[in-house]
């Protein structure tokens, strides 16, 4: 029940927030912030409850929904979900704070959409029924589209449409794969089922598994996004309002990664292992390509957007390295990227609000006039380039470490991405905040935004110095996500060991 509360609070607060605009212009903001604070508290409360779970899941709830098709309202929370749920509530609050002064028209409808997106994201991180998962997956889409299309910048129509078309095309492929999987279950056992645990136990012929895995991979990787499906991302991130960019970069991209490690790999372990080199190569390509393109940008937000492509390349490499270490790294990377990029988008939004441009050629020497903003930009830029002691470093290091065990060459190329990250991050700082002053004096960061960014910085430092907390939370979940373990479970359950090749050496977790 507590899991449903997490989803329903933002969903029910959304129409109220819309309506409340007629009472007061500030009411929707406070309402939305209140709803997410409640969610954050609730999620922290779940951490305490953790022991009461049934082993695999910390909290689980299951109700029938469409019984004819074996579709259930099945939610479950493990360490990975928990971390991402916390991130969602946190970044949701950040998004509301960052739009506090920026959004001045149709405030009610803005927060309506924001809350519905977040509700969808919570659902995605919690759903354990593939049909339910897909419903939440799509619920995120339309309000996000409206956020970009209504409150975005100059090219918003184009960007919003491109975002929707790309992700919808990916989703439909995913949808067909999901339905096909459920149909297979129907053919095998007599009743179709969309339930995660039922499908995990389903034996699938290798060729079919390969095609279905490809469908899942495509659906998720468009959202992630990996090269060559990334072209919607720079446009959408650049044109979205600040709050929208924070949610896009911080949360929506994570849903793609989450889908890969929750569904694509455990459901098709053998096919995923065969496919892993390709996926890792795509990840490495994303790291290098995104980094190089980021360096070439003149638009502040576009630069950050391309850096996202690069950072999520690390996540992809980490996920498909299929070692415990790399997977842990990928999750740290997801969290760290969510915070550092969210903060950078927030700063970009603050700059645009003050200077009415995102073009870095029209900026320079800002440190003198906005020291607080500039100092924070310095902090998050070096965080994003992977400075040791901050969270991104932990993520990237673990990914590289874990991936090296499987594909040393890929890991080497990926490591080169960290050098490129240093180049574009420092270039960003130099072009914008140092050098001769070209802009008029503008007011510095507001106190609310300042406090929010300081908290985000504190989280970065905390995770950078003491990642053990996060790693310990996700460790049990990751162990059960790894193909090797699943293989053992499956063979034991189905008794059809011949259908599967033996696992490679089981992987030791740190």
């Amino acid at each position: 029940m507590i899991l449903w509360t997490l989803i329903l609070i933002p969903l029910l607060a959304a129409p109220v927030a819309w309506w409340s605009e007629s009472r007061s212009r500030e009411a929707p903001r406070w309402l939305a912030a209140g709803a997410l604070t409640m969610n954050l508290i609730l999620a922290l409360f779940v951490v305490n409850q953790a022991e009461s779970g049934n082993g695999r899941w910390l909290v689980e709830t299951m109700e029938p929904w469409i019984s004819q098709w074996g579709i259930g309202l099945h939610l479950g929370l493990d360490g990975v979900s928990l971390v991402l749920v916390l991130l969602t509530a946190f970044l949701g609050l950040v998004a509301i704070i960052s739009s506090w002064t920026e959004i001045s028209t149709r405030i009610g409808f803005f927060h309506f959409n924001l809350l519905v997106v977040l509700s969808g994201v919570f659902g995605v991180f919690l759903a354990l029924d593939l049909f339910l998962f897909f419903v939440f997956w799509e619920v995120m889409l339309v309000p996000m589209y409206l956020l970009i299309a209504i409150w975005g910048h100059e090219q918003r129509r184009y960007a919003a449409l491109k975002f929707f078309l790309f992700t919808q095309a990916g989703s439909l492929v995913l949808f067909v794969a999901i339905v096909a999987l459920a149909t297979l279950h129907g053919q095998h056992t007599g009743t179709p089922s969309f339930d995660y645990s039922a499908l995990l136990a389903l034996p699938i012929a290798p060729t079919v598994a390969w095609w279905l895995m490809l469908g899942f991979f495509l659906g998720f990787v468009v959202k992630l996004p990996a090269v060559p499906f990334h072209t919607w991302l720079p446009d959408a991130h650049t044109e979205a309002p600040t709050g929208g960019s924070v949610i896009l970069a911080g949360l929506l991209l994570k849903t793609g990664a989450y889908g890969l490690l929750r569904f694509a790999i455990p459901l098709f372990p053998e096919a995923s292992r065969d496919f892993a080199p390709v996926a890792m190569a795509l990840g490495v390509a994303g790291i290098l390509y995104g980094g190089v393109l980021a360096f070439a940008q003149t638009d502040f937000k576009r630069l950050v957007a391309y850096s996202s492509v690069s950072h999520l390349g690390f996540a992809l490499v980490g996920i498909y390295a299929l070692t415990g270490l790399a997977l842990q790294g990928a999750i740290v990377q997801l969290v760290a990227h969510g915070i550092s990029t969210g903060a950078l988008f927030m700063l970009a939004g603050a700059l645009q609000e003050r200077l009415h441009t995102r073009d870095m050629r029209c900026m320079g020497g800002l440190w003198a006039s906005v020291p607080r903003l500039s100092a924070l930009a310095l902090f998050f830029a070096v965080a994003s380039l992977g400075l040791p002691g901050l969270a991104n470093f932990v993520g990237e290091f673990l990914v590289l470490f874990g991936a090296y065990a499987r594909h040393p060459l890929m890991a080497a190329f990926a490591a080169a991405g960290m050098v490129i990250a240093a180049v574009y991050s420092l270039a960003l700082l130099q072009r914008t905040f140092f050098g001769p002053q070209v802009n008029n004096v503008v007011p510095d960061l507001s106190t609310v935004a300042f406090v929010a960014l300081i908290i985000m910085g504190a989280v970065q430092v905390g995770l950078g110095w003491y990642p053990g907390l996060l790693l310990a939370t996700t460790k049990p979940a990751i162990q059960s996500l790894l193909p090797a373990d699943h293989l053992a479970v499956r063979v034991a359950e189905s008794g059809k060991g011949t259908a599967f090749r033996n696992a490679k050496n089981p992987v030791e977790l740190r």
Binding site: L146, I150, L161, Q168, A169, V173, F175, V176, T183
Partner: protein, 490 residues
């Protein structure tokens, strides 16, 4: 004719009686609200008679008609749709009909066309097939051209008369060939001719194809779709809704029975033909919709595409195929009625609201109306929590269950393409309005609440069945499982 036969016939008899009553009432006193209420009551009373007509097995009444649970389900669906359309028409006619024109006969024609549709759902004989089709067709001639002072309306009516006439000619010729070859006019007997032989005679196939041309025309399948955009654009918006839902839905119910009784899907050539039709219909409907700037034309092409999707479910065959078709049709009815309902509510005197500019900034001027329209469009695009998504899910599941990988893939590709033009319309609605928001138009004509109730009903169905489709699925499964007509054997 036994008492049981009469009971089975009750829905048709009731609706016929109401047609006559309406006609007499118009002769006695021309009063728009009275006639509208009478017509709506006719539909509702007929719906109320459906349970009486129900029997445990399918009940043939002479050779002409069969009353089984599928027929009754479709009757209920069609009658509900007509009721909603009457609700939408009332205010529309009050606004549109000018001095010297009458609005009462509109309802009479609507009831007659619905009667034809009901006959089609129960038809088991070539004669009833033709009778039903022509009853719909002839009533529609009048309905499409009803606003006779509009040039586009007349043009659409003329186009429909000519093309529909030639389609009927094909249909008749096809029937003649089938009769010539088999000596039978009852569907099952025509099919029985097929059963022993593994290969079909050329004459049989030709006759079948010609019948299919006639049916394909009514359904607007590519390449028989040429009339759809013009008629949709020219006809008054509620009539467009009627053509898109009741007329097409009844014909598809007929097609289900016809192919089922004939064992049509056992014949490889027929399956291939339908597969090609489905692929063409999806792609061409979609591509033409991409080019449209007129909202009614856009919805017209989108409705063509949707019948391509229905054909995919149809080709899956078996009870699952029939279920998927029926569920999809219910979804299609709901979203199409909603979309055209919004168009008719927005129409001002003299013209329909069919330009993109009519919708610019609608979300800020009429948030509720725009909200309904956005929901309908998202449902047409197949986005979750709407019934359109459940319909698409059913179609995909049926297609995959039958191993129609290629067709399902085409369906998915087309769904992705279709998102573009639905979103364009949504985008138009969220833009800044052309007029200042405070310029609220005065609505002097009463009866707005009826349209509001109709739209509210449709929207409630859209969402409730989208979130909780279980009960409807159970009903549809009940309808098709006990039957297991020959089609199901495949």
């Amino acid at each position: 004719m036994t008492r049981a036969d009469l009971m089975a016939l009750l829905p048709l008899l009731t609706l016929s009686m109401f047609c006559i009553l309406t006609m007499l009432a118009i002769a006695v006193r021309r009063h728009h609200p009275t006639i509208a209420v009478l017509a709506a009551a006719g539909c509702l009373v007929t719906i109320a008679t459906l349970p009486f007509s129900r029997s445990s097995q399918s009940h043939p009444v002479t050779d002409l008609l069969v009353f089984d649970s599928a027929a009754l389900f479709y009757m209920g669906l069609l009658l509900s749709a007509t009721t909603v359309i009457i609700g939408l028409s009332f205010r529309y006619l009050a606004v549109q009909v000018r001095q010297g024109e009458q609005s009462e006969e509109f309802y009479l024609l609507l009831l007659l066309a619905t009667l034809g549709a009901l006959v089609l759902t129960a038809a088991a004989h070539l004669v009833t097939l033709f009778l039903g089709l022509e009853l719909i067709g002839v009533s529609l001639y009048g309905l499409i051209g009803y606003l006779r002072s509009r040039r586009t309306s007349l043009e659409a009516a003329l186009k429909y008369v000519i093309l529909s006439g030639s389609a009927s000619a094909f249909l008749l010729f096809g029937m003649a060939l089938l009769y010539f070859e088999t000596g039978a006019m009852v569907f099952t007997d025509i099919g029985a001719h097929l059963l022993p032989a593994t290969e079909v005679s050329a004459l049989w196939l030709t006759g079948f194809l010609l019948v299919l041309v006639g049916v394909g025309f009514k359904l607007g399948l590519v390449p028989f779709h040429w009339w759809i955009p013009d008629v949709y654009q020219g006809a008054p918006a509620p009539v467009t809704a009627f053509v898109a839902t009741v007329s097409k839905g009844a014909v598809f119910a007929l097609l289900l029975r016809f192919i089922g009784d004939l064992n049509g899907l056992q014949v490889g050539a027929v399956v291939q033909l339908f597969a090609v039709l489905a692929a063409l219909t999806m792609f061409i409907g979609n591509f033409l919709a991409l080019l449209q700037n007129n909202v009614k034309r856009l919805l017209a092409y989108s409705s063509i595409t949707h019948f391509g999707y229905v054909l995919v479910a149809f080709l899956a065959g078996g009870p699952l195929g029939a279920e998927a078709v029926t569920f999809y049709l219910v979804a299609y009815f709901i979203m199409t009625l909603g979309a055209f309902g919004v168009v008719s509510v927005l129409s001002e005197a003299g013209r329909d609201a069919d330009q993109m500019d009519d919708y610019r900034g609608l979300l800020w001027m009429h948030p509720w109306l725009a909200g309904v329209f956005i929901l309908m469009l998202l449902s047409l695009a197949g986005i979750p929590i709407t019934i359109g998504f459940m319909g698409k899910f059913y179609a995909v599941a049926a297609g995959l269950g039958a191993g129609l990988w290629l067709l399902v893939l085409l369906l998915v590709i087309n769904s992705a393409i279709a998102v573009y033009y639905y979103l364009r319309l949504v985008l138009t609605m969220v833009e800044q309005p052309l007029l200042p928001t405070d310029d609220v138009r005065v609505e002097p004509i009463g009866g707005r609440w009826i349209a509001v109730v109709s739209l509210g009903f449709v929207t409630a169905m859209l969402l409730s069945l989208g979130v909780y489709p279980g009960p409807l699925m159970a009903v549809i499964r009940d309808v098709f499982d006990p039957l297991l007509r020959p089609m199901a054997a495949s």
